[in-house]
């Protein structure tokens, strides 16, 4: 829902759909065959017919919707809160109690979706309009009498139930505002036409799309979830222990950005996809070491430089593009990258008018080159296999004998601090004379 309705203090638009659904539940509850069993409830000296206990309500909800008791209690509470069922014993307290406290259905007159103009809201007089009930008459025939009786009772005990009525009447007022609020936007004829034209274009484009068969796509989801199952702490837990449960931050220290020895799960994750390897700082470092052995490290340096251009500051784009050209693309450059001639020509053209995405084609080319060639070889290499063998599998910490003993939780350094340190180090390196991170000879 938008906040525009919130600001006006009116009833939220989406709540009308909720009210209809709640009314469906209420009508089902009053069904003569499958609905709730009503009985006479004793309230002080009066006997009130067609009432039910809180316990009955919960049992019925549990059976009908096949939910737990806790959820049935919650749903019942909502019905009471919005005025569809009201308590007889403590009318000011709109809570469903799962015991023998008596409750009754609110008259449809006061249902929130009933739309009455504000002028007809007369607190003192309870007018029952018959034509409204004729629709519901068949289904809630047996409650007709109690509806009439209720009106009489309301006149008698109006003081007692004032709060409940007030709340329901408030809802009615909100409903009134819902109907009478000013239209959202005034759309001119031309706008509708323009919208149609654009919509038609969009549909035509969508028709020409390439789609993949459902079976293939859905298998993809299954495979992904299975692959990552062991890495999902909510599903499988984590080693040595979930820091939130055991108050022990070992899991976080072991999986920090840079550690001397990474965990086995982390190293395994590098083999899932090329993106996983590059997104992990340690993985990227290892891959760089491997590429340097293969004398193709310039590819990764180039990719990193292009990422920097894409995501960096707008003001530095021209300067960075020039740097990249000098170091990677110019003939005879120190780290010349091997791009096909078509992409090279297009990029060189684009460099004349540099913008954020000028390196995209070249970057894609190099990315897929690394992904198809260097990455699979890295996974088969000794470097990776040694890393996997060295990787630690943390021991699962045994739960303490006294589960109530709590460890002290220590705070960690603020990320702002680590970022400042990193920035300082970068600044120093830059100041020391090297022009950029990539131009080491």
């Amino acid at each position: 829902m938008t906040i525009n309705t919130l600001a006006k203090g009116g009833c939220h638009r989406e709540q009308m759909a909720c009210f209809r659904k709640m009314e469906k539940v209420i009508v089902a509850m009053q069904d003569p065959d499958m609905g709730m069993k009503m009985r006479n409830q004793r309230l002080l000296i009066t006997v009130i017919p067609h009432a039910m206990t809180g316990h009955d309500i919960i049992t019925w909800l549990t059976h009908k919707y096949r939910i737990s008791e806790e959820e049935a209690l919650h749903l019942g509470n909502m019905l009471v809160k919005y005025g569809y069922i009201y308590p007889l014993k403590e009318p000011r307290c709109l809570v469903l109690r799962p015991d023998e406290s008596p409750y009754r259905f609110q008259t449809p007159y006061f249902w929130t979706s009933t739309r009455w103009p504000a002028s007809e809201l007369d607190y003192g007089k309870k007018k029952l309009k018959i034509y409204m009930y004729s629709l519901l008459h068949k289904r809630i025939n047996h409650t007709w009498d109690f509806v009439v009786m209720q009106a009489r009772e309301q006149l008698r005990s109006s003081k007692q139930r004032r709060k409940a009525d007030r709340i329901v009447l408030e809802c009615q007022e909100q409903a009134y505002w819902l109907i009478n609020r000013p239209p959202v936007r005034s759309i001119t004829l031309y706008c509708i036409q323009l919208y149609c034209v654009v919509h038609i274009e969009a549909c035509r484009k969508a028709l020409g799309r390439n789609r993949v068969k459902s079976s293939i796509c859905l298998e993809g989801f299954l495979k992904y979830s299975e692959q990552y199952l062991n890495h999902d702490p909510i599903m499988q837990g984590c080693l040595p222990s979930n820091p939130w449960i055991s108050d022990d931050t070992a899991h976080w220290t072991m999986n920090a950005e840079i550690v001397p020895v990474p965990t086995r799960l982390r190293v395994e994750r590098w083999s899932f996809s090329f993106t996983e390897l590059l997104n992990d700082a340690m993985g990227r470092k290892e891959f760089m070491t491997y590429l340097e052995k293969e004398f193709s490290a310039e590819n990764l340096y180039f990719w990193q430089a292009c990422e920097d251009i894409r995501h960096g500051e707008n003001s530095k784009i021209v300067e960075k593009v020039e740097d990249v050209y000098k170091n990677f693309l110019a003939p005879g450059a120190a780290r010349w990258v091997n791009i096909d001639s078509k992409t090279m020509d297009k990029t060189l053209e684009g460099i004349k008018r540099p913008h954020r995405f000028v390196m995209d084609d070249a970057q894609m080319h190099i990315y897929f080159l690394m992904k198809k060639d260097s990455y699979p070889r890295y996974l088969k290499s000794d470097l990776y296999k040694n890393m996997l063998a060295k990787a630690i599998v943390p021991q699962e910490t045994k739960k303490s004998v006294f589960p109530f003993m709590r460890r002290q939780r220590h705070s960690s350094p603020s990320p702002a601090q680590t970022a400042t340190q990193a920035a300082e180090e970068e600044g120093l390196a830059k100041g020391a004379g090297t022009r950029s991170l990539y131009s080491v000879v």
Partner: protein, 430 residues
Amino acid sequence: MCDQTFMAATFGPCDSCSKPSPLMNIYIKNEATNYCSLCVEMMACQGLQKGETLESLKRESETLKKKLEEERNKLNDVELHQVAEKVEVLSALSIKTRRVLKGHGNKVLCMDWCKDKRRMVSSSQDGKVIVWDAFTLNKEHGVPLPCTWVLACAYAPLRSLCLIMNGYLGLDNKCSVIPLSLDKNENLAAKKKSVAMHTNYVSGCSFTNSDMQLLTSSGDGTCALWDVESGQLLQSFHGHTADVLSLDLAPSETGNTFVSGGCDMKANVWDMRSGQNIQSFESHESDINCVKYYPSGDAFASASDDATCRFYDLRADREVAVYQKDSIIFGASTCDFSLSGRLLFAGYNDYTINVWDVLKGTRATILFGHENRVSRVRVSPDGTALGSASWDSTLRVSWSFSTGSNYIFRFIKLLFWVNSRLVLEFTVAF
């Protein structure tokens, strides 16, 4: 699409009449053009004169829509729950809330996790933004702000914080970025820098892969990409016909797309570079409150006021699952995936959080505890915990207790062992 929908992003000479005026950026036959409002109306008028009545256009629009549905269904050879039959049923999940963060004075409207997996930022209707260390329950920073509607907040990858503020009467439709620093006494509110400006309230924000660019979605029906340093508008995205309520960036290799969902019941996928609407999904029956990508980037989920969450496949270009139950009556306001994508956590307006099994389409469990509607749920970056913010002015952190090394189970195992030993002793004796 009237004047209100388009943001007058630029001021300059109109492409058709060359008069300097506020320009609307519209796409006609895939070409981006900048027309002044007069020329837009004239062009629309001309279309009418060429014999295309509004009725015929509407009819064509409807037939094309039907054709598109048919095309999509052609490749629909199997349903998700059928494919998921061979997957193991989830073992009973035991997710409990164990941390409650109290400190806000009014509804908490938004929260986000920091990359260090334990800190989070939350914003509230009382005008305060608080940075918490959720692990120790310490409040690290508190930023008081002048206006009361701080609709959203997001952590940047490095160290800044983004806040969306909307003045009480909707006058202040700004998005600001605050660089976080260590000094707790520093007046952070003074350092804030206004980045984005829309013609209506800003509903959602997200940093792209760095601290330098910001994506925003707005009640004026558009999304926009901003450069944080200069505050310049880099790209705007038009196509929604009503308020855009939420957006999410794709975790894909190329990192160029994002999805947005709005009050027009549509979820659109956009290309950040060109500003084009790549794909559109229209199957919800009410406002879409939240959209979130599946971790692999091939699909996304949406939570809506019609009390359902839906799962859309981008490659098959259709909706593949609907997560709903008869007993769930109130709308869903937020959703997020667990790390493996197997679970979908959705927060509802009836104060609960339902946890859905994404593949099988069934509900795994339900979390109670909040005393007012849940405005935001987010799984922590390493997937260890779930944070939720609510209108009851608290934030809660919940996690799963795996049944493996449960104390009680060990005790039972011990009992059996003792029992078996006793039996052994007896048989030996006799």
